[in-house]
């Protein structure tokens, strides 16, 4: 009987195309927007996630999230170092500045100054060059997306010069740094050099990045740092969550994406509901004939749900293929959408959502199928 249901469904190609388009549209929109939203939230904490070898981030108590920096006095570093359980404590500078190429191209850059004694917090992956190359005078490492922004169309190469707050910087390494929230150029340099590029008054220290003794409990050490120094100390994961949470609570991003996702679901639901209703209306006499032949209501319900499942299955994969293609073609390493992708759990929740809203959309039609009176076929 499933083959009969499938043939009945495919017999009305216009409506089937409408139904599949509705599900595919909703899948595409909800998946794409969810993945973009998740990608942005991941970007918001990428500097933390990308920082090499950091167990605990220590900052001024007033700092609520990564991008709100209140510099501390340099001697806070030594106070943190003195806390039991702390293995190493390193200086970390975070600032923003425009950078200019010799050709006059200007871009905003995220400037990260890393303690050259430990290199704690530096990007995990270098595409060209190494940490040793950052020890040269005026040396900076730039991310490859930033390189493409500043010198579009040129192959990755070292030795390029940049003007950074009226000072000279030379690209001696290229990193594969994960993109930051605003997709700026990301520059790593030595801490001592970073504070020269962006002098910031008396207090320069943005964060103290610590590693802990082997076997120590990271939560406890963080708690101890806070108690002893009066500074805010958070594990890398905790600081990531706090940063993401700040963006979720204090920006319109969440509402914007939720609205778009909801609209995608509602419009898809409406298209599917309306088209399925037309499909069922056109097929009501056929369902009635099946009842006359002796097919039970439960079996007919099963057949209609099978038809709906086929629509959901095909529509979902068409939509998912479109969404995947979107990210495949737009999320190249040198594009503004780099790093965006569709994680499995978004695909899974979209599948569950699409199945649920399709069921919701067709529920009224299912009722009509169950209530159709086979006697009407005789009377007609």
């Amino acid at each position: 009987m499933l083959a009969v249901a499938l043939k009945m469904l495919l017999g009305d190609r216009a409506k089937v195309l409408g139904l599949i388009s509705g599900v595919a549209f909703a899948t595409l929109l909800v998946t794409q927007q969810s993945a973009l939203f998740m990608g942005l939230m991941v970007r918001a904490q990428n500097v933390i996630a990308d920082a090499r070898g950091v167990d605990i981030w220590v900052m001024d108590p007033s700092v609520e999230y990564l991008d709100l920096v209140r510099p501390m006095r340099d001697n806070e570093l030594f106070r943190v170092r003195g806390v039991p359980g702390v293995a190493t404590a390193s200086r970390f500078f975070k600032g923003a500045t425009p950078v200019k190429t010799a050709g006059g191209k200007i871009r905003n850059a995220l400037l990260l100054g890393v303690d050259e004694a430990t290199w704690t917090g530096v990007a995990r992956n270098f595409v060209i060059g190494s940490l040793a190359d950052l020890q040269r005078p005026d040396a900076i490492a730039i991310d490859r997306y930033g390189f493409a922004q500043l010198w579009p169309g040129e192959p990755l190469s070292l030795g390029k010069m940049l003007e950074l707050n009226d000072r000279r910087a030379i690209v001696t390494a290229i990193t594969d740094a994960a993109p930051a929230f605003a997709a700026q150029v990301i520059i790593y340099t030595r801490y001592s050099q970073a504070i020269n590029y962006l002098p910031n008054g008396r207090n320069q220290l943005s964060f103290v990045l610590t590693t802990i003794d082997a076997g120590a409990d990271v939560e406890r050490v963080a708690e101890r740092i806070s108690q002893i120094t009066g500074l805010r100390a958070e594990t890398a994961d905790g600081f990531s969550r706090r940063t993401v949470s700040y963006y979720l609570r204090n920006t319109g991003i969440t509402m914007s994406f939720v609205t778009t996702i909801a609209l995608g679901a509602i419009v898809g639901c409406a298209i599917v509901g309306l088209t399925f209703s037309l499909f069922v209306a056109a097929n009501l006499p056929q369902y009635a004939v099946l009842k006359i032949i002796g097919v039970t209501n439960a079996r007919i319900l099963y057949l209609v749900l099978f038809q709906a499942s086929v629509i959901v299955f095909v529509g979902y994969w068409v939509g998912m293929a479109l969404a995947t293609s979107f990210f495949h073609f737009t999320s190249t390493p040198t594009s503004a959408l780099r790093g965006f992708f569709i994680p499995w759990w978004i695909a899974a929740y979209v599948a569950a959502g699409v199945a649920s809203f399709t069921l919701l959309a067709i529920s009224a039609s299912l009722r009509r199928v169950l209530l159709v009176d086979p006697a009407d076929v005789f009377r007609s």
Partner: protein
């Protein structure tokens, strides 16, 4: 031979005092006003009468599609009102075949697939169902139209598919609603000859609802209905049919 004679005398459908209303309160209309009728196995019984006389309601009641408001309907020894809804559907699936006025074939299915539906509904495997469907369609002279969908068939061919669908599962009661309504005189006569040849068997009763006086000679018995009542029943001899 004796068995066949006994079967022919067996009542397949017995209606006693069957009443059926439509609508409620002021819009209430009485479609059947106490029908008493017997339909015998091995016979072709016609229900004849003007529009609104209750013919269609009566076959709906006989097939268990409508429940009478009063009276008793016994089909093939089963009192329909005593059957649970699920048993009634199963009973209809296994024991009754229906040829509808507009045929109501499933437009996306081929002739073979349409005919196979009652077998599939009974849980028969697809291959076996299609093989049996092919057999009966060939018997009806449809060997060249097996793979055609209803839209590619003439009205007469569609009717043969509808007849095959009603007979494929070997029902004991076949109900035909205006089988010649969509056919010209020649095609109507051919259809009735076919129905008579293939459907009427000792263990099967055939009920035909019709307005078409031209096909009355094909009946064994004719029940005349008027205003929801059977006014009289006429018995015809087989010689008139030939």
């Amino acid at each position: 031979m004796l068995d066949a004679i006994e079967l022919e005398n067996t009542v397949a459908v017995s209606c006693r005092g069957v009443v059926k209303h439509y609508g409620t309160s002021s819009a209430r209309a009485q479609a059947l006003r106490g029908i008493d009728l017997d339909v015998h196995l091995g016979k072709m019984t016609f229900l004849v009468g003007p529009s609104g006389s209750g013919k269609t309601t009566l076959i709906s009641v006989m097939t268990g599609i409508l429940t009478p408001d009063a009276g008793k309907v016994e089909v093939l020894g089963f009192e329909l009102s005593a059957l649970l809804p699920s048993s009634l559907v199963r009973f209809r699936r296994e024991r009754i075949g229906v040829v509808l006025q507009q045929f109501h074939l499933l437009p996306a299915l081929t002739a073979v697939e349409n005919v196979a539906v009652p077998l599939l509904a009974q849980g028969c495997a697809s291959k076996a169902a299609q093989a049996r469907s092919r057999e009966i369609l060939v018997e009806l002279g449809m060997e060249r139209q097996l793979a055609r969908v209803p839209g590619q068939l003439s009205v007469g061919e569609q009717q043969r598919v509808a007849i095959a669908r009603a007979l494929v599962h070997g029902p004991s009661l076949v109900v035909c609603d205006e089988p010649t309504a969509a056919l010209d005189a020649g095609s109507g006569r051919a259809a009735m000859l076919l129905l008579r040849r293939i459907a009427v068997k000792p263990g099967r009763a055939v009920v035909v609802v019709t307005h078409d006086d031209r096909i009355l000679p094909f009946a064994d018995r004719i029940a005349y209905l008027s205003d929801g009542r059977v006014t009289h029943v006429e018995k015809l001899s087989r010689q008139e049919v030939a």
